[in-house]
């Protein structure tokens, strides 16, 4: 384990120095159904160590997957690997910037279930069965189905020279399916994905089937797109373009760089009163949940926006040190490179809201009052360009026209544009269809005055 590595670091570092390290071992089993049939099964076994040192007031990092079957720091080969890794971290620190980085001391960790034994125990046959179920339910004339199942069992251990440490085992199952329909030059692909620490229930799988087939049924009819400043319903998946500028703006790193429009807005009402945003590393059943972050900071929920008022930004140890504030426990690190601030489970609503997932019809009950508008499920080019400013403009990948309170059909060749900070000032409605999309929990949102153009 990394204890030997940190012990070695303690001996080599001078007074005032310090170090922290993360070790992660992942075992992944994956099953792939390609174009309607089971094609491949695979395993991945990966282990690596990331080390950071504070040496003569400067920070350096190094990572390696060359940890051998032996643990780093244990045995002769292990000790040799550890010494090489430490050398590289010290070389990195020689060039590194001066920073008053303080490693957290030992603290009590909250309880959170990250590991479900039956997930770890599930056989390959059980994973294939899940895929087979989806494949059978989604197969239809003129369409092709892809399904992928991934089961992870991982062990994470973090520790530092200040005495803090934590270790946890997590499990995760990710199930994704997409249905392709090509008719002439019209290419349509509709997919969904679910993820949990536990194996998916039959209800959850049925939810995936309903979500895909309802969007597919509505997509078969192609209608002309509307035009103008219109009411637009963004589904939980379609919300990415709207939420991305906000989550980027709430990162302490963006605030430090001076590029966050929210930097000076703490305590101010920036969004509609019904808009709250919480990051919850203790959400039950979620694969991003953990008792402590990758820098030994204990997990706790972070209220980012409460009833439209900006509360705080997320920080890891380094950005917190530079901003002379405290880490919010958002340190994320891989095997290579240094930690960066990152979200865990992002919830549109209050902490705890993520426990009530509801599978409802497309539009989440928001369509009723809309005479002419759009429902957006997927956009092209989200994340391109100057995102953090809040302005967006994207062609639609999957969108439907709403007429007289109902879905009239799929629109192609349409684009939507607007400014997130303008649009989120007034939210015309939150849907009753809140669900997890990856590690984000949101309902559909109805926004008014979104520019819709034909092209």
């Amino acid at each position: 384990m990394i204890d030997g590595l940190l012990e070695l670091a303690r001996r080599r570092l001078e007074q005032g120095g310090g170090a922290d390290a993360l070790e992660r071992r992942v075992e992944r089993t994956s099953v792939a159904f390609e174009w309607g049939r089971l094609k491949a099964a695979g395993v991945t076994e990966e282990a690596g160590v990331n080390l950071r040192v504070l040496h003569r007031g400067r920070v350096g990092v190094a990572g390696t997957t060359n940890v051998g079957a032996e643990n780093v720091g244990a045995g002769d080969a292990g000790a040799q690997h550890a010494a090489l890794l430490l050398d590289r971290a010290l070389a990195s620190a020689e060039l590194g910037e001066e920073l008053a980085l303080a490693f957290p001391s030992r603290a009590k960790l909250p309880r959170v279930t990250t590991h479900v034994q039956r997930t770890a125990d599930a056989s390959l046959a059980r994973l294939i069965e899940i895929g087979q179920f989806l494949l059978e339910r989604l197969t239809r004339e003129g369409c092709q189905v892809n399904v992928a199942i991934e089961r992870d069992v991982s062990d994470t251990r973090v520790a530092n020279t200040a005495g803090a440490e934590g270790a946890y085992r997590s499990t995760g199952v990710a199930v994704s399916a997409d249905v392709w329909r090509i008719a002439g030059d019209d290419v349509l692909a509709i997919g969904d994905a679910i993820e949990s620490t536990d194996l998916p229930s039959e209800d959850a799988l049925e939810g995936v089937v309903r979500s895909i087939t309802s969007r597919l049924d509505h997509a078969l009819r192609i209608v002309a797109p509307p035009e103008g400043a219109l009411p637009v319903v963004f589904t939980p998946a379609g919300l990415s373009a709207v939420l991305l500028p906000v989550t980027q703006g709430l990162s302490g790193k963006a605030v430090l760089q001076g590029i966050s429009p929210l930097a000076t807005r703490v305590g101010q009402r920036v969004f509609d009163e019904c808009f709250s945003l919480t990051d919850d590393p203790l959400a039950p059943g979620r694969t991003a949940s953990r008792p402590l972050d990758d820098e030994c900071v204990p997990s706790r929920g972070t209220g980012l926006v409460e009833r439209g008022v900006v509360q705080r930004f997320i920080y890891d140890l380094e950005t917190a040190a530079r901003a002379t504030t405290a880490s919010t426990g958002h340190g994320k690190r891989g095997i290579f490179g240094k930690p960066v601030p990152g979200y865990t489970n992002l919830i549109l609503g209050e902490s705890g809201d993520g426990r009530r997932e509801t599978w409802r019809e497309l539009g989440g009950g928001l369509l009723k009052g809309i005479n002419d508008g759009l429902l957006v499920d997927d956009l092209i080019g989200v994340g391109q360009g100057n995102v953090i400013g809040g302005a967006f403009s994207h062609p639609v990948a999957l969108a439907y026209r709403i007429e007289r309170g109902e879905i009239a059909g799929r629109v192609k060749d349409a684009a939507v544009a607007g400014n997130v900070y303008e649009l989120l000032k007034r939210i015309a409605g939150l849907g009753n269809d809140a669900r997890w999309t990856g590690s984000r929990f949101t309902p559909s949102l109805l926004l008014e005055g979104v520019a819709v153009a034909r092209r």
């Binding site: 174009w35 991945t44 076994e45 060039l95 349509l188 692909a189």
Partner: protein, 460 residues
């Protein structure tokens, strides 16, 4: 290592087995503004086993601990046997190759101290900062790696390669009041330390352009004749057409197969498109792909007609075509899938001036900030552009977004100049969770007779 791998192969019970092992040394230095953000050196190593049995599917195993090699060969075989298939997977024949490929390291980056790499990127970063006090932020990254690579399969292929790579990237952010503009520089080479010296001019140029863009008007949205510079034309052909030519998209999908029938007209006779994994010295170049198939120059569109596609051994067998050396994996963590290498629009005739001479009003779109294709629709953001007025390049414009339908747009390419060049950029291609794969794109100036340009949409 080869002996270890061939011994492991010999122990495999599977009908077909292949093993890849990689050991990669890499380093990276990042500057942000005047600050060093990080300087790291990393070591990554691991292996990948793929097994196939008659009547079964693929079994794969990837691992970071080479001590596990023998056990992983057994796991891959077991996994293959657990996947029962009615229609068997066939592999198109490839004569087994034995080769030792040491690519030109051009100054082995492993021998250069991290401090010196820092000095290099600091200088390029400084070149951007020195342009103007309007440059309020920069990001500059130096990254290199050398990968030692071994590949063996049960048909007798034995490959050993040393693959270098070095990339430089720079972002300059210019600001005046509320207006923010940026310029991007990116250089990516399958070479070493010597090839990234004396590159300050490119960094300076993108910073200067970011400052100029502060005063440039936003392009007026609408339909125009559009001329793409070689960089944007290359990105366009990769994103908008290249991915459709990857045979794993079509080989088992009858509707897709119909859409991509060889012989279908995709463009006017001026249009030639290909993918060349054997081109000399480019980032997407390698002697063999990750199934041991030699790379080659594959024609995809010839005089406007679809004539070929990119294959792995499996897709080639399924479509009764020949493997093209396009089965690639970004690392030992992944199976090889059908990917592009160096994708290009073939050279035409004449000069850039010939393309714009008869245009009364048009847009000259240059460079690429990004692009995405989804199904048959695409959206590309040019780094900058110029209006074309009365046959001449006129004022600088910004926010040039090119969006449209792939089939329509390819068919509207009506003039291609004779000034072909490869764009030696960093970054890479993403597909199926594998990113970034080193690829290159190349093209001459290309004219589209009519395309939609927009960034701003009408707000009422």
């Amino acid at each position: 290592m080869i002996d270890r791998l061939t011994a492991a192969l010999a122990a495999s019970r599977a009908d077909y087995t292949e093993i890849r092992v990689e050991q990669t040394w890499s380093s990276a230095v990042t500057m942000r503004g005047r600050r060093l953000e990080s300087a790291t050196a990393s070591e990554d190593q691991g292996g990948f086993v793929r097994a196939l049995n008659r009547g079964s599917g693929w079994g794969t195993a990837s691992f970071t601990s080479l001590d596990q090699l023998a056990a992983m060969v057994v796991r891959a075989d077991e996994l293959s046997r657990a996947v029962l298939l009615e229609r068997p997977i066939q592999l198109a024949p490839v004569p087994p190759q034995r080769a030792e490929g040491i690519l030109d390291l051009d100054g082995d980056v492993r021998g250069v101290p991290l401090a010196e790499k820092k000095r290099l990127i600091e200088a390029y970063n400084g070149a951007m900062l020195a342009v103007s006090d309007r440059i309020v932020d920069t990001l500059a990254t130096y990254r290199d790696e050398v990968s030692e690579y071994w590949y063996v399969n049960s048909e007798g292929a034995v490959l050993h390669e040393l693959r270098p790579e070095v990339t430089l990237s720079g972002t300059a952010v210019a600001r005046r009041d509320g207006t923010i503009e940026k310029g991007l520089e990116s250089i990516g080479l399958r070479r070493g330390w010597r090839s990234v010296q004396d590159k300050a001019a490119g960094f300076r140029a993108v910073a200067e352009r970011a400052v100029l863009l502060l005063d440039a008007p936003t392009v007026t949205g609408g339909t125009y004749p559009v001329v793409l510079d070689p960089e944007l034309a290359g990105v366009f052909i990769h994103e908008a057409f290249g991915h459709l030519s990857e045979a794993d998209f079509v080989y088992e999908n009858p509707q897709a197969r119909e859409m991509m029938t060889l012989g279908r007209r995709f463009g006017k006779p001026v249009l030639n498109v290909g993918d060349n994994g054997a081109a000399s010295g480019l980032r997407g170049t390698l002697p063999f792909d990750d199934e041991g198939t030699p790379t080659q120059d594959t024609a995809l569109i010839r005089e406007g007609i679809l004539v070929g596609r990119l294959h792995s051994r499996e897709t080639a067998a399924a479509m009764h075509e020949r493997p093209t050396g396009n089965a690639r994996a970004i690392s030992f963590r992944h199976p090889p899938i059908v990917r592009m290498t160096n994708t290009y629009i073939g050279n035409g005739r004449g000069t850039f001036e010939d393309l714009i001479r008869d245009l009364k009003l048009g847009v000259y779109a240059c460079g690429a900030f990004g692009g995405q294709t989804m199904l048959e629709n695409f959206s590309f953001t040019a780094a900058y552009g110029y209006m074309i007025r009365d046959g001449q390049v006129a004022e600088l414009v910004k926010d040039v977004v090119l969006a449209g339908n792939l089939f329509q747009t390819l068919d509207r390419i009506d003039h291609i100049a004779g000034d072909f060049r490869w764009n030696q950029m960093g970054g890479g291609c993403g597909k199926g969770g594998q990113f970034p794969l080193p690829v290159t794109e190349g093209a001459p100036h290309v004219r589209i007779e009519e395309a939609l340009i927009g960034g701003d949409l009408p707000n009422d």
